[in-house]
């Protein structure tokens, strides 16, 4: 497949999955999920929680909506040590959306590794990795360690600030006063002109 098309598919897949997780999390427990996903304002949490299923892909198409901190501090040999110091992850205690977030983190690192091998520069941009050394670590990651890495990072998914800003533009009218709707729509009209 054309690498650019694959890139677009991956971004859409992960983005859509991310918004599904975040939506179910916010509907279940808005305070906990807001902290978990680093959503900047509580009110934005209600807006995202009310997103319709049809708009998830539209949102995801805006770009990679989340950042997972790079593995610099714990990849390779550190990963096992960190997990063992925390004790085994008990999935029985996790609620549904947290399990989905774990699956998402797992997919995230599988795709990150593929891309790190194929195009490290682009992968670094896509997955929010800062240095070449980190990208090398991800590219060399053995398959058996990916699940472990996902367990270490599933609770570190944070929404990117500029994404939150774009979403607030998109959904300014989700629970807005007529004034806010008028002003935000005028901005959209100007942008579209």
């Amino acid at each position: 497949m054309n690498p650019q098309a694959r890139f677009r598919d991956d971004v859409l897949y992960l983005g859509t999955k991310y918004f599904e997780v975040i939506r179910s999390g916010l509907r279940r427990d808005i305070a906990q999920a807001s902290t978990f996903f680093g959503i900047p304002e509580g009110q934005l949490g209600y807006v995202i929680g009310s997103i319709s299923q049809q708009r998830l892909a539209e949102l995801a198409s805006l770009g990679m909506p989340y950042q997972v901190p790079g593995p610099d501090s714990f990849a390779v040999s550190g990963a096992r040590t960190m997990r063992s110091s925390k004790g085994p992850l008990d999935q029985g205690l996790m609620v549904d959306w947290q399990k989905k977030a774990l699956d998402l983190a797992n997919d995230h690192w599988w795709i990150a590794r593929d891309w790190a091998r194929e195009s490290p520069g682009l992968a670094a941009l896509q997955f929010g990795v800062g240095t070449n050394k980190e990208m090398q670590l991800i590219a060399d990651l053995p398959s058996r360690d990916i699940r472990e890495l996902a367990e270490l990072t599933y609770d570190k998914l944070i929404m990117e600030g500029s994404m939150a800003m774009q979403m607030s533009f998109l959904f300014a009218d989700a629970e807005a006063s007529p004034d806010r709707v008028a002003v935000a729509r005028a901005g959209c009209l100007l942008l579209a002109a």
Partner: protein
Amino acid sequence: MLQLSDAGQGRALEAQIDFEQAAVAGGTNLSELSLAIISTGRVDEAKDLAELGFGPAVIASLTGWPDRYAKKISDKANRKNRGGKVRSELKDTVKVPLLHSALSRFVMCIEHQLKFWGDSRISSRVFLAAFRYTTETMPDATMHIPASGFYSVAQEVLKGTVRTTRCKQCRNSYAHISVESGLTGPGEYDCPFCRMVNLMLPSRKRSIQNCVPSSFADMNLRGPLTRFSRDGAGGQDVRAVMALAFGAVSKRAY
């Protein structure tokens, strides 16, 4: 000894055949041929650049290859579009703050890639990664920007005249906005969103009649803006106004 994977060997072979044919047709010398075989990744990048419509001079500057060699790739390219003329100076383009979010993101990408690869010039891998990321994640916003426009911006980033910075007022929200350094000062500035909001909202000195630009008159926003200023605007209200400011600045409607 140079180790290549299967895919790498395949590409190397393909490049070798390509350039052997080119050598027969155009008299490529041996050093150029070996350059192509050794750095097959760069050959792909050069082909991509040529397909974007760049001419030999730009390809040569991005890849660091000789002009004559870049010209061969450029001539062979299956161009999908014209690259347009590369501007030596952006002039008005950067004098207006780069509020266009796609361009701001592109600037951020170039800075990231320069640091990531440790390059001191805009190389093909830096440019292509930033270009692909920006155009793939924001296709609608970038479809009308020619590749040469991105190239010019990339050169400005290297010169330090365009960079990412933070706003003094809303420092967490607008980290990705980039503007001409002359406007920004040493690292912090009032971002155009905040300036537009200040400009558009009435104050004691400025009445509602002269704070709203005339081009907005038909949008009938005086009522809402007056009420915001009278009753106080919440966070979401301010964001809505910022959406308006974003549209206004991108269209130079102020």
